[in-house]
């Protein structure tokens, strides 16, 4: 049995070596590129440290008990005593976990509130709104203010809060860009809001993380963050070169299972508006939906006006 234990130990060590041999930067969740993901990765690391403490306490006790009290180490006539319990010991291992849970609860509520709102320090900036909608098995990104739409890739300016509004043309999907922040569901009957921000330029993997059928494994998209100047240049490029997104074209797109990247110089929000209810923002009445549908009608009917506004903004 001794030999087997060493075998087990050796195997465990070799696994650990193998794991540490992996490039640590491949743990992309712990390699954040924006304030939201940074909050989350430091929360994760903090909880790992707390939990490592718990594990060490349990493992030390475990090793002591198993080495000291095995039958082979006691005499044949040893009779273990009858022990009911110990009030103080039992109190200790209730009280300490309660304290740990209390600390973690405070951290959780604080960080959850942080990642559910516009990143700290960027509140005074007007967020860039991007509607992200999933359909079997692709992602549509619409920029209502810029009046452009893309499929399976999304470009964003750095250091500007992005407000993703998520919904789905089918099964529940989950919009996830690990290096910018955690995920949120996109559903067919409501719009969810996800606040992200990239503080460095680069290309990040994004994907649907909620199983949605046959093409789920391929449901990836690329997020490219770039300087504000590059971003407005890209918008202008798309507006000049890309075709308009007509209703027919959009409906055909919805029916196609797999497509590559596409760009359009108008959005589908006008003729195929997102669901009205927006639970995450907390408005339920008709007020918000009036406002939303109002702005959408404007997007649609008054596109040229919007374009001017967009370019003015980028000119600043």
């Amino acid at each position: 049995m001794k030999k087997k234990r060493w075998l087990f130990f050796g195997l465990f060590v070799s696994i650990m070596l193998l794991l540490s041999g992996c490039d640590s930067s491949s743990l992309i969740v712990l390699d954040p590129k924006g304030p939201q993901a940074k909050t989350q990765s430091s929360t994760i690391i903090f909880s790992i440290l707390m939990m490592a403490f718990v594990l060490i306490v349990v493992y030390i006790l475990y090793i002591i008990m198993l080495t000291k009290y095995r039958a082979s180490k006691t005499s044949d006539d040893y009779i273990p005593p009858h022990i009911e319990g110990n009030k103080w010991l039992e109190f200790t291992w209730i009280a300490i976990p309660v304290i740990i849970v209390a600390i973690l609860s405070v951290v959780t509520v604080k960080t959850t509130s942080a990642v559910e709102s516009v990143p700290a320090g960027y509140e005074d900036q007007k967020p860039l709104v991007i509607y992200a909608a999933s359909s079997n098995w692709k992602w549509h990104f619409s920029y209502p203010e810029e009046g452009v739409e893309t499929v399976n890739y999304v470009n964003i300016p750095t250091n500007r809060p992005i407000e993703f509004r998520l919904y789905s043309y089918g099964p529940i999907t989950s919009f996830w860009v690990p290096q910018l922040g955690g995920q949120k569901y996109a559903m067919s009957d409501m719009v969810n809001t996800l606040h992200l921000l990239a503080d460095t330029p680069g290309s990040f993997m994004g994907r649907n993380s909620n199983f949605s059928g046959k093409g789920y494994a391929q449901m990836e998209f690329e997020v490219q963050s770039m300087s504000a100047g590059d971003f407005s240049k890209w918008v202008d490029d798309v507006k000049k070169t890309a075709p308009k997104l007509t209703e027919d074209k959009f409906n055909a797109l919805l029916k196609t299972s797999y497509v590559g990247r596409e760009s359009f110089s108008s959005t589908h929000l006008g003729f195929n508006p997102p669901p009205e209810m927006d639970m995450s923002e907390g408005h339920h009445g008709s007020g918000s939906s009036d406002k939303d549908s109002g702005s959408e009608t404007m997007d649609h009917s008054d596109m040229s006006n919007m374009e001017d506004m967009g370019s003015m903004e980028h000119g600043n």
């Binding site: 794991l19 718990v54 273990p80 209730i94 529940i172």
Partner: protein, 648 residues
């Protein structure tokens, strides 16, 4: 419907499965006829109401389902071993992870746990059977035929492919048009009703059938865990029943509860599913806690440390288990208040669970620990399950969960809870109580070999998944590209899965070896154990206790052995009243199978006929007068003489 739609076609592995199903069925039929065992099978097993035999059938079914679910797991791991593998296509992979989840939870973990309950609980409380033996047989056959209905889906009609959680609208007719998810709703419904009846049966059994002096606070910890588990079943399973009924209406009768159109609410399904689903996790883990408690106490030759806090912690866990369900979908966008609340309730479960871990550790203190196979599983459980537990606390933190949700990190976490918890628990329980039922122990050497293979294989298979999750690999992906860098760790995990599988092969070989060669037990107490079940001879006679034991303390058998406190009063045997066998539960199960099968394919005329047959069966039972039979004192004396030799 055409025949080529009825049978699943076009997949060589499935053709092979069909052929092997036909061959095995024929072999069983021919074997039974050749050895003239039909009558034996019917009289001794199919019609039995004996809790021990029903328990054995539950465990046997669970082992077969473990094989099926395990093969599913190996197929998945093979597909994921390297980038861009072409072993399975997306559809096939989706079906396999769905059936793996459903089978492992509902048709492996549940029946294994319920099987051990059946075998052990009446013996631990000094009862002669459960409170409603006939109902118990109905429970078993409902489970069994529900499981069979689910399993035929992969050759007839196609397996469900929307995950074991069957989230809508993916599981709706619009996105999942095959009959696969009809199988899901009906098979789970039939076996779920069986489980609900088990819940009622065992609550009554434990509350009303205890031997004189067996106060609640003198019950063995396994019985306590079973009592609490069945209370959870009683409150959680009706939610599943309702959810599955709504699902069936949506898919078969065109209602719109969860659909995308006409105001259906997809997240309502998710809520209902997890209001049942989270307590379900505790339904399979609490009995394992009970098993480990009894085993740790037995093999350290000490009473359980902190008995009262052990009971209290299970009660607290059972209450908390009902108010944590939303942690399965923090990412739904419910906001900081809701997610904060569910984060805190979820983390709170760590406190009573921690109490249990420390109590087990202090049971070992000053003990005399012997490392038998069941004890090895209990000792592997503590450190490995603690990893599962602390990662559970990490997942409970909503802000961090946005990064873990739906990733391999989550997959690693729940396997780190369910395998060392539930699977090690039921395996430990099986090794521990096996001699009670069959009269001999499983071979220790083979048992330990299997144990080490399983422990090493398990860690090799699941530890890498934590890191894959943090690298951005989501669950349920049937393939990934090489430039993701997921390849090497996935290969390690696959190797681990195959080591685990070899461990299970050794475990099965142990049955064969031990049946042939293991020495038979003499006194019914091979482990020098502490509780009432070990005071009966092995194998246990049909009436369990020749005389009803008289319990004066906790660990009554230990007190009898060490301090000479007598368990049984002097005096002659009295006649024992026993229930009669009945074929009705089996027949009812067969009818339910066909009712479910016809509904799956929307064949309504046959379904209505089967439905009427169910009502007829229930009516027959209501008008039946069956008062059971009595075993005479002479027969008891003869049986005891035979089983115990001259010592009584």
């Amino acid at each position: 419907m055409k025949w080529d739609e009825f049978f699943v076609t076009g997949e060589p592995m499935i053709y092979a499965a069909m052929v092997s199903i036909v061959v095995v069925s024929l072999a069983i039929l021919i074997g039974l006829t050749y050895f003239k065992k039909w009558g034996y099978l019917w009289r001794e097993w199919l019609t039995t109401v004996d809790h021990k035999r029903i328990g054995v059938m539950y465990i046997l079914s669970a082992l077969i389902m473990l094989f099926r679910g395990g093969v599913d797991a190996l197929l998945m791991r093979t597909q994921l071993a390297a980038p861009e593998m072409k072993f399975l296509d997306a559809q096939h992979y989706n079906e396999i992870f769905t059936t793996h989840g459903v089978i492992m939870i509902l048709f492996m973990a549940m029946p294994f746990v319920i099987g051990l309950m059946n075998v052990v609980v009446p013996l631990q409380i000094g009862a002669r059977d459960v409170a409603f033996p006939r109902l118990n047989a109905v429970s078993f056959w409902m489970f069994f035929f529900g499981a069979m209905l689910f399993n035929i889906s992969f050759v007839i009609g196609g397996s469900p492919d929307a995950g074991w959680t069957a989230y809508f609208p993916l599981a709706s007719l619009e996105f999942s048009p095959t009959v696969g998810n009809n199988f899901y709703s009906l098979a789970l419904q039939i076996s779920g009703i069986g489980t609900l009846m088990t819940g009622v049966n065992f609550i009554v059994t434990i509350l009303k059938m205890r031997a004189p002096g067996m106060k609640l606070m003198r019950m063995p910890m396994f019985t306590w865990s079973v009592l609490i588990t069945n209370v959870i079943i009683l409150f959680a399973f009706p939610v599943l029943t309702v959810a599955l009924a709504l699902m069936m209406f949506d898919r078969i009768f065109g209602s719109q509860f969860f659909t995308m159109a006409n105001g259906g609410m997809d997240m309502l399904w998710a809520n209902l599913f997890w209001v049942w689903g989270h307590p379900e996790v505790y339904i399979v883990i609490l009995p394992a806690f009970g098993i480990f408690s009894d085993i740790i106490s037995t093999f350290s030759k000490k009473n359980l440390y902190g008995y009262k806090s052990m009971v209290a912690s299970m009660v607290v866990i059972s209450l908390l288990s009902f108010i944590v369900w939303a942690h399965h979908f923090y990412t739904m966008g419910a906001g900081v208040m809701v997610n904060g609340f569910f984060s805190i309730t979820t983390m709170a479960i760590a406190v009573p669970t921690g109490v249990k871990i420390f109590n087990w550790l202090f049971t070992l203190q000053k003990g005399k620990i012997s490392f038998t196979t069941p004890m090895l599983y209990a000792m592997a459980f503590i450190p490995i399950f603690t990893i599962g537990g602390v990662t559970g606390v990490m997942l409970a933190m909503a802000s961090a969960d946005y990064q873990y949700h739906n990733t391999m990190f989550l997959v690693a976490h729940f396997h780190y809870v369910l395998i060392p918890g539930t699977v090690f628990g039921v395996l430990a329980g099986m090794y521990f109580w096996f001699p009670k039922i069959f009269g001999f122990r499983l071979n220790e050497k083979l048992g330990k070999t299997a144990f080490w293979l399983i422990v090493v294989g398990f860690n090799t298979a699941f530890l890498p998944l934590f890191f894959l999750g943090l690298s951005g690999m989501t669950r349920r992906m049937y393939t990934y590209s090489a430039d993701t860098g997921f390849g090497p760790l996935n290969m390690v995990a696959t190797i681990g899965a195959f080591i685990l599988a070899i461990g299970f092969v050794v475990l099965c070989y142990n049955f064969y070896w031990s049946f042939r060669y293991s020495p038979r037990d003499e006194n019914g107490d091979p482990w020098d154990a502490r509780t009432l079940e070990w005071s009966t001879p092995s194998p246990v006679p049909v009436y369990n206790f020749a005389k009803v034991p008289n319990v004066k303390s906790m660990d009554a058998l230990w007190e009898a052995k060490v301090n000479g406190v007598p368990l049984y009063e002097e005096g002659p045997y009295e006649p024992i009243h026993m229930p009669n066998n009945s074929g009705q539960p089996f027949i009812l199960g067969v009818i339910m199978f066909f009712l479910g099968f016809f509904l799956v394919f929307s064949w309504f005329i046959p379904a209505i006929i089967a439905g009427i047959a169910v009502v007829v069966m229930l009516a027959l039972r209501s008008f039946e007068r069956d008062h059971g039979y009595h075993i005479s004192p002479e027969e008891i004396a003869a049986t005891e003489q035979k089983l115990r030799g001259d010592s009584v």
